[in-house]
Amino acid sequence: MRGLLIALCSAVLTAAPALAQQPPTGQSEFVPMKNLPPSEQIPAATLLVAGYSFIWVAVAFYVWTIWRRLNKVEAEMRSLAQKTPQR
């Protein structure tokens, strides 16, 4: 069973680089980007808006994590202060 597993892994590892080097169909010759059919082109405005939106979402998510962690720590401090006897 172990031998079979090793043989399978070896076959996959050997075949992967060979497969990766195979040129995908349709890319055997150079095609300038501007000559691509409209269905193959990515609209620039979409990428621009996606980029700026990504920044907003990432920053908002980070702010939310700070707010959540701060709330947790402060709640724990309040709870601990209540448990601690006055000295």
């Binding site: 980007m33 990515i42 620039a44 405005a45 990428l47 621009l48 996606a50 980029g51 700026y52 990504f54 920044i55 907003w56 990432a58 920053v59 980070y62 702010v63 700070i66 962690r69 701060l70 720590v73 402060e74 724990e76 401090m77 601990l80 202060a81 448990k83 601690t84």
Partner: protein, 218 residues
């Protein structure tokens, strides 16, 4: 800094809200077209990431030297922001690259070294969270290495032949691009200051909580 937090927060919110207007009005590079406007927030994100890595490294070096807990808090906050701004620069870059270069990613020096710098910041956070006692000093040493990587990230485009534009692009921007670019750069630097202040406050509260637990044990 704590007194300036709220006014700074309002200013940053206004600038962030106005930034799309500036970007829309800004000029774009002729050969790349509209997508080159990603530069307005991609490049400043990279600048803030590098500044944040330097702050983290310098604060860590000072912590190793002087054992000042405030420096440790600053380093911790900066490391987290290096990761955040690293995500922004690595996330927005491929959107531009796909249109301009025809590929999402290329393992060329600038991109590879940026990923290495980002991974150093991530590893710093992992060390601080999981390495146990002594992780502060171990993390600080790691952060110093992270800072040593910064000049290589910046100069990589001038040293090696890469796909990425050189460092001469920003100082030679035409007037139509200069305004929106520096507006976005200022916005992201102020955002960095706001987030840094909030994150340091969180770290201070965390330290206070740890001290409370220690006092309770005594």
């Amino acid at each position: 800094m704590r007194k300036a937090f709220m006014p700074l927060l309002i200013v940053v919110a206004v600038l962030l809200a106005y930034a799309p207007v500036m970007i829309a009005q800004g000029a774009f590079e002729q050969s790349m077209g509209l997508v080159s406007k990603i530069m307005y927030f991609h490049a400043p994100s990279g600048m803030v990431m590098l500044v944040s890595a330097i702050v983290c490294g310098v604060a860590s070096a000072l912590y190793l030297w002087r054992k000042n807990p405030a420096m440790d808090r600053l380093a911790m906050a900066s490391a987290e922001l290096t990761v955040l701004f690293g995500v922004l620069v690595i996330g927005t870059g491929p959107l531009w690259a796909k249109k301009a270069w025809g590929i999402w990613w290329d393992w060329e020096p600038r991109l590879t070294m940026t990923v290495v710098g980002w991974l150093i910041a991530v590893s710093y956070l992992f060390v601080r969270k999981y390495a146990g006692p002594g992780s502060d000093k171990l993390g600080a040493a790691l952060a110093v290495f992270g800072t040593a990587n910064v000049p290589f990230i910046y100069l990589s485009v001038n040293i090696w032949r890469t796909l990425h534009p050189k460092t001469t692009v920003v100082p030679t921007l035409p007037p139509g691009m200069r305004g929106p670019f520096w507006f976005c750069a200022l916005t992201l630097f102020l955002l960095y200051l706001v987030l840094l202040t909030a994150r340091i406050h969180l770290e201070r509260q965390q330290n206070a909580l740890d001290e409370l637990y220690l006092a309770l044990e005594d």
